[in-house]
Symmetry: C2
Subunit: 414 residues, 2 copies
């Protein structure tokens, strides 16, 4: 009988080791291509090799380890997550999935049984997209959907993605050949913290993900007229912040009326040339809308655009609306998800189906492969924050469920 708590403790030890590798001395920040990133990646590759796996680093900087089936014509099942982080990150978002994946594959290696299909364990190099304001650089290469136009993107210091990749020792022209051919995919599986509070509130350690929400990101600018805060009478003002404040509340109100299938957030708001004694003349803000329902996402987007325009027209304030990113909702594979839900049940836990509001590497992968995801409860749902935490018992639960899941897949193939 496996001691899952012991395995979880070993996983946590590795997570802590990785968390100590950071760009800054105090918190955890390990963004794509930095020296800290390279050191963290090296550590992960070492672990994979110690487990007896063949490893390589591909052109986008993913670490890839293969456990090869003697069945030469077999397809490949990918287990993966990412090792880059946001700024001032928590230590579980990404690394937990990679280190758990290694633990799962190690058990299969140590069992000595031949696999009916290949397994590829991948540590994606860039999921958070912090450095280049991109999404899924690592998994797009694997999925064969990497767009070479991304190579010209520049980071905050003016360095292009091409330059960063070259500094990492990559051969740019290898990028296309690093994709897994669509015919080779058997499936994709990722373990990740929930990053939300539902499991925490419902006292359940894991959840099966049914979909990854579609998302629209908008940048909005409200332009009025700056003026002296002491001398422009109230009735003569065109205060851009008041317009933006009206919009923030309207967004919240709208999302609350559709709260079962929708979240909407103004996360950034900047008063241009702000001073306490100046009436704000220009305010820019972000809007992030997500839903698993493509129709609701679209109608919400249109309704909030209408609201912004009408708030502006009533003051009057000029409104500039700029859609900067959108992804469609992605459904997890019914077949894989059914097996995963059954594994949860067999492990003795309630099956809670969840929509992921956060994006994940499964989004680009879903274009070429069936995908499944297992969410693990995290403390109060806190993520992208040093307070991010996962109980050892919950990691043990996830390992138990994932063992069962993989054993079922191995048994069923084909």
């Amino acid at each position: 009988m496996t001691d899952y708590v012991q395995r979880a403790a070993a996983v946590l030890e590795k997570i802590n080791e990785l968390a100590a590798i950071s760009e800054d001395a105090t918190g955890l920040t390990r963004t794509f291509g930095t020296d800290a990133f390279l050191a963290g990646r090296r550590r992960v590759q070492d672990w994979m090799e110690l487990a007896g796996l063949q490893t390589r680093v591909d052109a986008i900087g993913n670490v890839r380890a293969r456990f090869v089936s003697p069945n030469a014509g077999a397809k490949t099942f990918v287990i993966a997550s990412h090792i880059d982080t946001v700024v001032n990150a928590g230590k579980f978002d990404g690394p937990m999935g990679v280190v758990m994946g290694l633990d799962l594959v190690t058990r299969l290696v140590e069992s000595g049984k031949p696999l009916p299909f290949h397994i590829e364990l991948i540590a994606f190099s860039d999921e958070e997209g912090v450095r280049f304001h991109t999404t899924y650089l690592g998994s797009k290469v694997i999925a064969g959907s990497f767009d070479n136009a991304l190579l010209d993107k520049k980071d905050a210091f003016g360095m292009t993605l091409t330059e960063v990749l070259q500094r990492m020792g990559s051969t740019i022209t290898d990028l296309p050949s690093d994709a897994l051919a669509p015919a080779d995919w058997l499936g994709y599986f990722e373990i990740h913290i929930e990053q939300g509070p539902v499991l925490y509130e419902r006292h359940v350690p894991v959840a099966v993900v049914t979909a990854i929400a579609g998302q629209k990101r908008v940048e909005i600018t409200f332009t009025g007229m700056a003026g002296h805060a002491g001398t422009v009478p109230m009735a003569m003002r065109q205060d851009a912040l008041c317009a933006a404040a009206g919009f923030v509340l309207a967004v919240e109100q709208f999302a609350l009326t559709h709260k079962d299938n929708l979240v909407a957030t103004v996360g950034k708001l900047t008063v241009v040339n702000a001073a306490s004694n100046v009436i704000p003349g220009e305010v820019s803000c972000s809007l992030d809308v997500r839903s698993n329902d493509a129709d609701l996402l679209e109608t919400t987007y249109l309704a909030l655009h209408e609201l912004a325009i009408s708030i502006g027209a009533n003051r009057p304030i000029r409104v500039n609306w700029n859609l900067i990113q959108e992804t469609a909702p992605v459904l997890c594979d019914t077949g894989l998800t059914t097996v995963l839900a059954k594994s949860i049940q067999e492990s003795g836990y309630d099956v809670i189906p969840l929509v992921s509001g956060a994006g994940h590497d499964g989004v680009p992968i879903s274009q070429v492969s069936p995908i499944a995801m297992l969410f693990v409860r995290c403390y109060k749902g806190i993520s992208h924050n040093p307070l991010e935490d996962v109980e050892l018992a919950d990691m043990a639960a996830a390992l138990r469920v994932a063992d069962t899941f993989l054993d079922s897949l191995i048994e069923q193939y084909p």
Copy 2:
């Protein structure tokens, strides 16, 4: 008959010369103690000397020129404004009053007539308070209310006021003796742009200031809980920006209901660790409330504090409220203001009494001297902005009114 347009043109030429002396190549920024400030001050001092006045620079960096009366026991009438600017400033706010003052005194010097009282023309070194987040450094020294604790204040680069003064060549211990003794004050007069839109809207070139509004500045922090914008359901959020937005609108609404005697502004608003995909966990903002009515100022302050607390309590969001600065309303001197209003009338203009919503050096001076201020119309009321502009004809009008005002004072003395 004086050609006021010609005199205004000469004034404008000097204003333009001063505006070319800036810390940066593109806009106008001349904050206290910088090399640009010292160069601008040198230019002003040269002009004063060219006009035949005795000048000196005092320990806080004010340029002071005296036109001495043969009447040795006479009091001193001060004409002044400031030569420091905000960041990315307009060219009239401050310098116009100094350069016009010089023009007014020059006429008196050139008339060859002895004065019945002394005149001191002062270019204050620091009214805007940008560098040390202070108010009225220059005029506080003149008024004898400079607090030595200010000497330890640090600028953004960690340099103390003491160090800056030493770099300017000042002897710190001279600060107290640079005050004009209370018994020596005859009065104080400043010409300044309105910095508001009332004269522009009413098509009148000048106004007599009846009071300088009292002011309270508050810093408020709303603290909720940061979270992932995709994963925290709407009903489980503690969004600090939504609370702050509610406060911004409540401030506007409250001020609109008292709009004849009150302005209130949230000029700064910062989302801490903002990201488009993070629910704001902490938002700080400023509040600036001004009124000429001390009671209304106080009741407004208390009411807005109540509002902030109740907005926080309803969400729930923690609210931290911190009063950082307050000044009481200051009344202009009835005697001087009556003479000034009569001078406006005699010059052929409608007399418009205005409350100054902006603070001015008259605030500290009012503690030791009767004060009077003349406002000049500016383009659309725009100030603290490169678009700040004043018509030549309006400067001519102000010179005409001020000539009449000074002649009346001379005639009436004692």
